[in-house]
């Protein structure tokens, strides 16, 4: 039966699907390449949506339920688009002992979101990490891929306020762009 299988065409003409196809070819269109492929999708698109999951599942010949199961089992995969900025607070043991909970409480209070959520208008996504391995610098926070060590409540508040101070709802954001650029 597998001899008659033809891989479906990508759902859109977006060039990023070429990256996904390349990964699937590398794993020989086998089901065991599922996690590798989902990594590529997330790297290319930022998150996994239903369209992507369906395409990958059919291409690798796994049930959609299994693709969805894998995507939701692993914490690294997200099914929702991330905000403009991400703030990852490390909740590893060393960071916890040195006050990561206070950082998290402060940010949760300021942004009004729980970990894993994005603040209104898609500005900042708040995430927690199990351990970044930067325990020597505890407590550690990752602002947009950049690791900062020995973070305090005032310093995290300052950083977040830089991100959010020019915040306006998305509809009216366009006319004010010059103001954002100056900041």
């Amino acid at each position: 039966m597998s001899a008659y299988f033809t891989k479906p065409v990508p759902p859109t003409s977006d060039k990023r699907w070429k990256l996904v196809d390349a990964t699937m070819r590398r794993v020989g269109l086998q089901s065991r390449g599922l996690i590798e492929t989902l990594h590529t999708v997330q790297e290319a698109f930022g998150y996994l949506d239903e369209q992507a999951l369906r395409y990958v599942a059919v291409s690798l010949r796994v049930p959609l339920s299994r693709a969805y199961g894998v995507a939701t089992f692993y914490h690294f995969f997200t099914l929702k688009p991330a905000g403009e900025h991400t703030c990852v607070i490390c909740m590893g043991t060393a960071c916890y002992i040195k006050g990561a909970q206070q950082l998290l409480d402060a940010v949760q209070h300021d942004l009004g979101v729980a970990p894993g959520e994005t603040s209104a208008g898609g500005k900042v996504s708040l995430l927690t990490a199990r351990c970044l391995g930067s325990c020597g610098l505890a407590p550690a926070v990752v602002y947009d891929q950049e690791v900062a060590g020995k973070v305090s409540v005032p310093s995290i508040r300052e950083r977040l306020s830089q991100w959010t101070q020019h915040f306006t709802p998305r509809e009216s954001a366009a006319p004010q762009e010059p103001a954002v650029a100056r900041s």
């Binding site: 086998q30 089901s31 065991r32 390449g33 599922l34 996690i35 590798e36 989902l38 990594h39 796994v62 299994r66 199961g69 894998v70 089992f73 692993y74 914490h75 690294f76 995969f77 909740m91 590893g92 043991t93 060393a94 916890y96 002992i97 040195k98 990490a129 199990r130 351990c131 970044l132 391995g133 930067s134 325990c135 020597g136 610098l137 505890a138 550690a140 950049e146 690791v147 900062a148 060590g149």
Partner: protein
């Protein structure tokens, strides 16, 4: 690649190194990189070029030097170490190469933190450029592999590893030689070697440092293991959260392939081996070997009952050898120096050295490698420099969420597999978190239970429901709403999870609770009977009573 060709590469590299009479090694492992050490290196490079010193002076990016809290670290060819170096210090550092060191930045290296260490796994960390295979070869790298392929039979290799007394560094401490010989004896058309680099314990970063500082050492260990057990394909399962380690591993694999040290007919022999990377996706349970195999196969990372052990039926149903990063990193020195040499280090049952990630409320946080059998007191107070800010030591936590908290009475205990297990903790992968009186032990137990509850894969009920129940009781205790009956229930659950869970995650999840109940029972009592938290961490909350 013949032994002569290898020696030739080493010789050319050593000569190239000798051209530089002056050298500055800048740490470019993750810890220092997050303190902008790349800027320091770039600035040094620019300064060297603008001064026209390029012919005799070199700034080199190297791996972790250990004292991560004082970064960015820079060391000179003459052995001076600098801490907290900013890019604006570049010129001053270069000026000082001829004369006196820059006093303001000097980091003394004659302190116990450096003197008490014995480096085997980390021997090249902080000395070689992790992104150049030539430097690893110049530091005797791949010599053990060539020696194994040209002079030894697989049985002789296993014999040396058995003699060394090396035990699995992932935490459980299973004798490595025994594991290798089981896989070697197993029957299968295709055998696999897997490197477990899914370092999930919060508070542990040893594997990450080894991979970032000396990736070739791990590849060489895997190659020797593959030869010994008869495998032709290998996987490194590494956390996606470690992008730098992934990048350097990819570079290392490519370089080794280019030199014919990986691939088909390695060193002109019939031995072939290829290594692929597999990225984890943030699931702690994937550190368990059967769950890891499921994940490599592209499935949800859920464990399965053992036996059959992976040594018999592992990846795709074939015999599979799984070892931790640090275990593989020990292999090349064991082959080079002989198993007896390794067996001469450490204690009677725990041989060799162990890398620990020292963190928490301790003066010197960072990475240390010490011989087995050193006492906890030496670790915390001599190497670690004691508890800062005049506070008092309360406990040290080893083994992550599967380990326990050891009180001050245990400080004179030697650090080895048996002693730690007797005291109610485990060696674990090597995280060591120091706590002072500002930490509430019930809160710490709740923290770990929260971790286990979230990370439970949900396959077996004792773990899935038990961790939830235990977390609920611990939350009630920290909210001051628990009763004596709840405490009794908590103890009963500890027993239940330990004996009925499917895998190590559930079986060891009660450890933090058991160990704190044993050593800090009065703190639990204060929360329940007096509605007080001695450390002042827990507040009577709005958590509902049970």
């Amino acid at each position: 690649m013949t032994p002569e060709e290898l020696e030739q590469i080493a010789e050319i590299e050593r000569e190239a190194q000798q051209r530089f009479s002056q050298r500055l090694n800048v740490c470019v492992a993750a810890g220092c990189l997050s303190c902008q050490s790349q800027l320091v290196k770039d600035r040094l490079d620019a300064e060297i070029t603008s001064r026209g010193w390029g012919d005799h002076c070199q700034a080199k990016g190297v791996g972790c030097m250990g004292l991560c809290a004082e970064g960015p670290l820079v060391s000179t060819g003459s052995g001076v170490m600098y801490k907290h170096v900013a890019s604006s210090d570049a010129g001053r550092l270069l000026d000082s190469l001829e004369g006196q060191p820059v006093a303001r930045l000097v980091c003394p290296t004659d302190v116990p933190f450096f003197q008490r260490q014995k480096k085997i796994v980390l021997e090249n960390s902080g000395a070689i450029d992790p992104e150049r295979i030539e430097e690893y070869i110049a530091a005797e790298g791949y010599r053990a592999l060539v020696q194994v392929l040209t002079e030894m039979t697989p049985a002789q290799v296993i014999d040396q590893v058995t003699k060394s007394g090396l035990r699995g560094r992932g935490g459980a401490g299973y004798p490595t030689g025994l594991k290798w010989s089981t896989v070697a004896k197993a029957v299968g058309t295709q055998k696999y070697v897997i490197c477990n680099a899914d370092e999930g314990d919060p508070g542990a970063f040893m594997d990450r440092s080894v991979l970032e500082s000396d990736p070739h050492r791990v590849l060489e260990g895997m190659l020797i293991a593959a030869y010994a057990v008869g495998a032709s394909e290998g996987f490194i399962y590494v956390r996606a959260e470690y992008p730098l380690a992934i990048k350097r591993l990819r570079i290392a694999v490519r370089q080794a392939e280019r030199l014919g040290l990986l691939g088909t007919s390695i060193c002109g022999t019939r031995f072939s081996f290829r290594i692929d990377l597999r990225l984890g996706a943030g699931a702690f349970v994937c550190g368990e070997e059967t769950a890891l195999i499921a994940s490599v196969e592209g499935k949800r990372g859920t464990p399965r009952p053992r036996p059959p052990y992976p040594a018999m039926e592992g990846l795709l149903g074939q015999p599979t050898l799984i070892n931790n990063v640090e275990t593989y990193a020990n292999v090349a020195p064991i082959i080079r120096n002989g198993g007896d040499w390794y067996a001469g280090i450490g204690t009677e049952k725990s041989k060799g050295t162990k890398v620990f990630a020292l963190a928490g409320r301790v003066q010197n946080t960072g990475l240390v490698e010490v011989p087995m059998g050193i006492t906890l007191r030496e670790m915390v107070f001599e190497i670690g420099g004691g508890v800062p800010e005049g506070r008092t030591f309360k406990a040290v936590q080893t083994g992550g969420p599967s380990g326990g908290c050891l009180p001050s009475e245990c400080l004179d205990m030697p650090v080895d597999y048996e002693s730690l297990a007797r005291a109610g903790s485990i060696m674990g992968s090597g995280g060591m978190i120091v706590m002072d009186e500002s930490s509430c032990m019930v809160d710490v137990a709740k923290f770990f239970m929260d971790f286990c509850m979230t990370e439970s894969c949900g396959k077996c009920i004792p773990c899935r429901v038990g961790t939830y129940q235990m977390h609920r009781i611990l939350s009630a205790i920290t909210n001051m709403t628990a009763s004596e009956q709840d405490l009794a229930m908590l103890q009963e659950l500890c027993d239940l999870l330990k004996h009925t869970s499917l895998c190590g995650l559930g079986q060891s999840a009660p450890n933090p609770v058991v160990s704190t109940l044993k050593s800090f029972a009065e703190e639990y009592r204060a929360h329940i009977a007096d509605h007080k938290c001695p450390a002042g961490v827990c507040k009577p909350g709005n958590g509902a009573a049970l």
